[in-house]
Amino acid sequence: MLRFILMRLGKAAIILIAIMTLNFFLIHAAPGDPAAVMAGEAGAADAKFIAQLREQFGLDKPLLVQLGIYLKGVLQFDLGFSYRQQMPVSQLILDRLPATLLLTMTAFVISLLLGTMAGVLASARVGKWSDTAISSLALLFYATPLYWAALMAVLLFSVYFNWLPGFGYETVGANYTGLARALDIGRHLILPATTLGLFFMAVYMRMTRASMLEVSQLDFVKTARAKGLKSSIIQRRHIFRNAMLPVVTLAGLQAGQLVGGAVLTETVFAWPGIGRLMFEALAQRDYNLLLGVFFVSAAMVLLFNLITDILYRFVDPRIRVA
């Protein structure tokens, strides 16, 4: 097991370096660089000033040399310096990480719990109106563009009904502390987390429903019935456990997006997380910051891939022992 994990970590490191190299060239292939953007904003877009900035940021060196310097830094756990924000990249990311994780993990839990519950429910009532209702709703969530759902949610629950705050992480200027602050953040969290979770909720629902129905046709379910087991036990112990295997894979995929998958939601809801940081960095051609964010989100995907595989060994004895 330990050997398995070490091997996988080794492979992950190689993949990560490959991803970083690719990202590096992709970013540099886009027109414009931070020097040009900063000079433009300063209203002093003359060639000499830009050249001076480029030299200062190290952008005048050949690309390969720049890549070498960057990767060397990464290997020493140094993600570089954001000249734009005048702060180390790692500091910037760490500042924003908690807000993002709070949002994405809440969305993750909501979608996983509600999605599988709805899927189990629908499969138990297959063909009845409740199944049709759940399935149609899932299809709607599945097909609705995230930004539209987000805007509609704000319009409905925040602007029209005025039940929930429509943007931000907490009430600015209220200076709540302790439980009051937690509740305040919680209220702010509801809309973005639900919106973000809708898509995956629909996916879990559809997957769980299909998987439950498929497993319930298998021979061992008939064996369980032939034993005289009650159908509630058969559902839970025999069908549900086996039906969850593909859902675990899917959950691993979603978990991989915990860091990088909320750009749109954070932008719409003005959530002070990594997604917005990435969006700003992109607009400003903040190379180091952008690469830093990519690095963390790529690492997260790889990490959760590994966790899924380890988890699989626990849920499925065939993988563990074989």
Partner: protein
């Protein structure tokens, strides 16, 4: 044989079970009546679609959805089972009537340990404490003869062999000492030697526990081994019933007569292929090893020597049987010969040219001459292609024009006794036997010199099987083909093969003329295989 106990424990009277609309007939079971007596083994025999499993499933309340009983009664302990409430039915299942199924691979929950699955039977009926349940599980596993029962109890199903899993199923069924054991094709998925053991086990347990056994099978050989009484079903009706000896030795109904006549006889005729015919296929030193688990980074990889130094020769016009049990490597040999799989070493000379090392266009060209027919007539035809395309595809890939390829496809369909209109239809519109004919036509389309038939009749009912075997023999003659016939079924091998190679664990342990293999087997394993063939003793006795 039966003792004098003839009191029925189960009475089925005029049972009618309706099929959903759009099925090929209205009733799966149409007015069936029979008794199951205490202490007897009753075999319900029939081909697929005869409705033989339906009355058993109805007795357990386990009919598929949409299939429902619409008339008659099933009387057990004075009550009509069909009228029981859900909770009464649950109480009956497992405790009074237990059931085992065909596929031991899929009949156990893959995520639960064996002991937990056995313990569930007690739990379902609120018996014993959790600790006692596990202790009973080990006792039951001991009774059904699993080696190292306490270890098997802790195992997951995938860690056991097919025969062991079926023993686990039987242990589960015995747990609450039911009055009736229903066995639905329990040995069909097992190898012949394992089958013999399981049949003996069921026979012994039936005697020691005094159960009544309802044994559903398609195999008259199995009937001869185990049945006290027999009921033969066709299209949802019982066409004939009686004691095993009556039905087997003196069948009255034409359908029973036809079924019994279709069973391949165990005696092989001497080969008619002259020994001086030129070899078309020469295989020397063939090896293939599978490595599973671990991959390149791990040391605990499992290595299976699937094909181990195999040598064989196939002459023009000859049929060579490769027989063996599952895992013997017989299919791996076939796949290496057509290069669906690359052998690790060895030569495969097809008309003098070594197939084993060819690549690219030379391999494609050579492949025309050696074609394969597969086991599963459902999975081996692309469901999205019309039959015409399936047959014409090969020749077209080799440069034959479309019109030419399709007109040849029509001729081939006629050759395998199918209507020419079939080219416009899809595979799902055909029965299993017809699909296997399509598979044969596809193999013939490239005008091969050698055909490898891998369990080509194993998925077919015995009467269809006989037709396909006749067709193959006829085509071989007319087209001067050489045939390698891979099978687990020694009866089939006896009927069709000139020579037979017996494989065990990747090696050919014995090879020789078919009649010599059956009349005077030299190898101990060959003898075990032949002795395990169900119905053999009865056949020998009948032959005198």
């Amino acid at each position: 044989m039966m003792d004098s106990v003839t009191e029925p424990v189960l009475q089925i009277r005029d049972l009618k079970i309706a099929l959903p609309e759009g099925a090929d007939r209205d009733f799966a079971v149409d007015g069936v009546s029979y008794d199951l007596n205490a202490g007897e083994i009753l075999c319900i025999v029939g081909e697929s679609g005869s409705g033989k499993s339906m009355s058993a499933n109805a007795t357990m309340g386990l009919l598929p959805e949409l299939v429902r009983p619409v008339g008659g009664e099933i009387v057990f302990e004075g009550k009509d089972v069909l009228k029981l409430s859900d909770s009464e039915m649950i109480d009956l299942r497992g405790r009074k009537i237990a059931m085992i199924f065909q596929e031991p691979m899929s009949a156990l929950n893959p995520l639960m340990r064996v002991e937990d699955q056995i313990a569930e039977v007690f739990e379902a009926h609120n018996l014993l404490t959790p600790r006692e349940r596990k202790r009973r599980a080990v006792e039951l596993l001991t009774e059904v003869g699993i080696p190292d029962p306490s270890k098997a109890a802790r195992a997951y199903p995938f860690q056991l062999s097919g025969g062991q899993r079926q023993r686990v199923m039987i242990a589960m069924a015995l747990a609450l000492e039911p009055k009736i054991l229903i066995a639905d094709e329990p040995t069909t998925a097992l190898d012949v030697t394992t089958q013999a053991q399981i049949l003996e086990l069921i026979r012994n347990l039936q005697e020691t526990h005094g159960m009544a056994v309802m044994f559903i099978t398609h195999d008259f050989g199995v009937v001869a081994e185990i049945a006290d009484r027999v009921a033969v079903m066709q299209y949802g009706k019982i066409v004939e019933s009686g004691t095993a000896d009556e039905v087997l030795d003196n069948p009255q109904h034409p359908y029973t007569q036809k079924l019994i006549a279709a069973i391949p006889k165990l005696a092989a005729e001497p080969s008619e292929v002259p020994a001086d015919k030129a070899p078309i296929l020469e295989v020397e030193g063939l090896n293939k090893t599978y490595v599973t688990g671990g991959g390149m980074f791990f040391s605990n990889a499992r290595v299976v020597h699937a094909v181990n130094e195999v040598n064989l020769t196939l002459r023009e016009g000859e049929t060579l049987g490769i027989v063996g049990e599952s895992g013997s490597g017989k299919s791996s040999v076939g796949r290496c010969l057509v290069r669906l799989m690359d052998p690790d070493s060895g030569t495969v000379k097809l008309a003098g040219q070594d197939m084993a090392t060819l690549t690219g266009s030379a391999l494609r060209e050579a492949r025309k001459s050696i074609q394969m027919i597969f086991q599963d007539p459902y999975a081996s035809l692309n469901p999205r292609s019309k039959v015409g395309q399936i047959i014409a595809e090969g020749p077209m890939a080799h440069g034959v024009s479309k019109t030419e390829a399709y007109s040849r496809a029509v001729k081939l369909l006629e050759l395998v006794d199918l209507d020419a209109l079939a080219i416009e239809r899809y595979p799902h519109e055909f029965s299993g036997g017809q699909r296997q004919r399509i598979g044969i036509a596809r193999a013939l389309a490239l005008e091969p010199r050698v055909i490898i038939a891998d369990e080509a009749v194993s998925a077919l009912d015995v009467s269809i099987q006989a037709q396909v075997l006749d067709l193959l023999a006829d085509l071989k003659e007319r087209l001067n083909l050489a045939l390698i016939f891979i099978t687990h079924d020694l009866r089939v091998a006896a009927q069709i093969c000139d020579r037979i190679a017996v494989m065990q664990k990747g090696k050919i342990v014995e090879m020789g003329p078919a009649h010599a293999i059956f009349d005077n087997p030299q190898n101990a394993y060959t003898r075990t295989l032949i002795e395990a063939i169900p119905g053999r003793e009865k056949e020998l006795a009948a032959a005198g």
